[in-house]
């Protein structure tokens, strides 16, 4: 089993071509990135609002909690039943999958964002007011930079979940690394399944590593030094 998996993974034919790992990884990443971007588009502004004003925090916690409880497979099926007859082409399969992934990603991004803003030192906020900054200047020049590490942590953990869950896209007929799991199961080629699972985990780690790198670059030097000091 292990040697078969190794054989499969090291066979160049496994990696190239239209159904190869490289092509499927690109599809997988494309869907994942779109989902993360959409989730961030929704969750970051809402999180900033809640963190800055302190309003709606209770609602956000509970909505995020309820979102976490929604089973991805069920939403995928409902969305597919509704959207498949109404859309044409690949979009009819991709949109339900993206919707599921967005629902999955909203809670960690949202809670990362408002927790980040809330955790900003009140003294820093007061000082900003003291020097005459407007509310929007405070938000963009003080709170956002200071909250960035937690926002990015939220995005990272959302992305990990997205990449692992995007495999269920294969159930409804689109590509991505889930193909190896689903098709491998259907034809009982376990080495393909195991190999596919390894590739998914590796991709998740790789993306996490890249995001950690980005985090290091964009987080304000002042924050890093303050923490080190």
């Amino acid at each position: 089993m292990i040697s078969l998996t190794w054989q499969w993974l090291t066979d160049p034919a496994t990696w190239t071509g239209p159904g190869g790992i490289l092509a499927q990884s690109v599809t997988h990443l494309r869907i994942s990135v779109i989902a993360l971007a959409l989730a961030a588009l929704v969750a970051v502004p809402v999180g900033l609002f809640i963190g800055h004003t302190g309003r709606g925090r209770w609602l956000a916690i509970n909505v995020a909690g309820a979102f976490r409880a929604i089973p991805s497979l069920g939403v995928l099926f409902v969305a597919t039943l509704i959207l498949l007859p109404r859309l044409s082409g690949d979009l009819a399969f991709e949109l339900p999958v993206i919707l599921v992934l967005v629902l999955l990603a909203v809670p960690p991004v949202l809670s990362g964002t408002y927790a980040g803003v809330e955790a900003v030192d009140p003294a820093a906020r007061d000082a900003a007011r003291g020097v005459g900054m407007t509310e929007s200047q405070i938000l963009w020049q003080v709170e956002v930079p200071a909250a960035l590490p937690l926002v990015l942590s939220g995005l990272r953990s959302a992305m990990l979940q997205i990449i692992a869950t995007a495999t269920i896209a294969a159930i409804v007929g689109i590509g991505g690394l889930g193909r190896y799991l689903i098709d491998g199961q259907a034809s009982r080629q376990y080495e393909v399944m195991a190999g596919g699972a390894i590739v998914v985990a590796a991709l998740a780690l790789l993306v996490d590593l890249v995001m950690a790198g980005i985090q290091r670059v964009v987080v304000s030097r002042g924050l890093v030094e303050a923490r080190a000091g």
Binding site: F77, P85, D90, I171, G173, Q185, S187
Partner: protein, 311 residues
């Protein structure tokens, strides 16, 4: 006080895990559901776990088996919706389930990819020959549910299609859709290439079941689809079933597949009665009840057994 509760929980949890993990002796091919087979040569009705594949018709047939067996006094458990043939054969061989409704052609081809037989009798003979010792099939029913290639009425009219052979000119521009195993089975994509010389433009793997395949065909995400002939959606959507002049898709009579050590006279007799009562027509109309009218397969099965087996 609190700590002792925790210890009890911990203990019971550990024992629970041990009990779950411990059943895993791969050599343990015994009945699994306890005293199902062997021992008692008397006419004790015994017990049985009936499984099914992951499509509604098979689930319905499994419910019919279960209802009939339970009327005969057999203790029946069901484990439905298991997966494709590749998955549930593993399940019946390792004793997770004892019996399930099968289709002669599909099973025969699974066991012998080189099979050339296509008629009901020949397929059954081939099947009997290649079945592992721990499994057996009972009497076949005249009900048949064949694999088929299906297109929409528009596609059929536009390209002038009545048989699979007519696809020769256009296959390269068309996308074929079906369950993932259709891509690798000998009488799937490979068979289409070998027997009819068809190379489709692409294959879309639709794992979530026949309904997804039907919807994808109806909405144009695929142009040609692998759907079972008894699927009521074919009539509802005015799909065209392409003829199969080269008999790529072999006869597919419904037949009970059962573990040899789970059979007893009561079970055998009951399942044979079910096979005798089933035919393609009543199976198709039951499928309309389940898929079109949304009735519970268990209820439809119960009605059928009450009406036909004099239960």
């Amino acid at each position: 006080m609190r700590r002792s509760t925790l210890i009890t929980l911990a203990l019971s949890a550990t024992l629970g895990l041990a009990a779950c993990g411990g059943g895993g002796d791969p050599m343990d091919t015994g009945g699994g559901e306890g005293d199902a087979g062997g021992g008692d040569a008397s006419s004790a009705p015994g017990s049985l776990t009936v499984g099914s594949a992951n499509f509604p018709e098979n689930e319905l047939l499994a419910e019919i088996y279960a209802a009939a067996l339970s009327d005969a006094g057999v203790e029946v458990d069901t484990q439905l919706n298991i997966g494709s043939r590749e998955a549930y054969i593993a399940g019946i061989q390792d004793g997770s389930i004892d019996a399930l409704p099968e289709y002669t052609g599909g099973l025969a081809t699974y066991l012998n990819p080189e099979i050339t037989a296509t008629s009901s009798e020949d397929v059954l003979a081939d099947l009997q020959e290649n079945l592992p010792d721990d499994l057996q099939v009972l009497e076949i029913s005249e009900a048949e549910d064949k694999d088929s290639l299906v297109v929409t009425r528009e596609t059929a009219d536009e390209l002038g299609l009545t048989s699979i052979a007519d696809l020769a000119d256009d296959a390269g521009d068309l996308t074929l859709g079906g369950p993932p195993e259709f891509e690798t089975r000998p009488n799937g994509v490979d068979g289409l290439a070998e027997v009819y010389g068809l190379e489709f433009g692409g294959f879309r793997s639709l794992a979530a079941g026949a309904n997804l395949t039907v919807q994808s065909l109806a909405n144009g995400q695929v142009d040609v689809a692998n759907i079972f002939t008894t699927n009521p959606a074919i009539e509802e959507n005015d799909f065209v079933v392409l003829e199969d002049p080269e008999s790529l898709f072999a006869a597919q009579n419904v037949v009970p597949l059962i573990r040899s050590d789970a059979v007893n006279p009561t079970i055998e007799e009951t399942l044979n009665e079910v096979s005798a009562a089933l035919n393609t027509d009543n199976l198709t109309s039951m499928m309309v009840q389940v898929q079109t009218d949304g009735e519970d397969p268990a209820d439809v099965a119960r009605e059928f057994v009450d009406a036909n087996l004099g239960g």
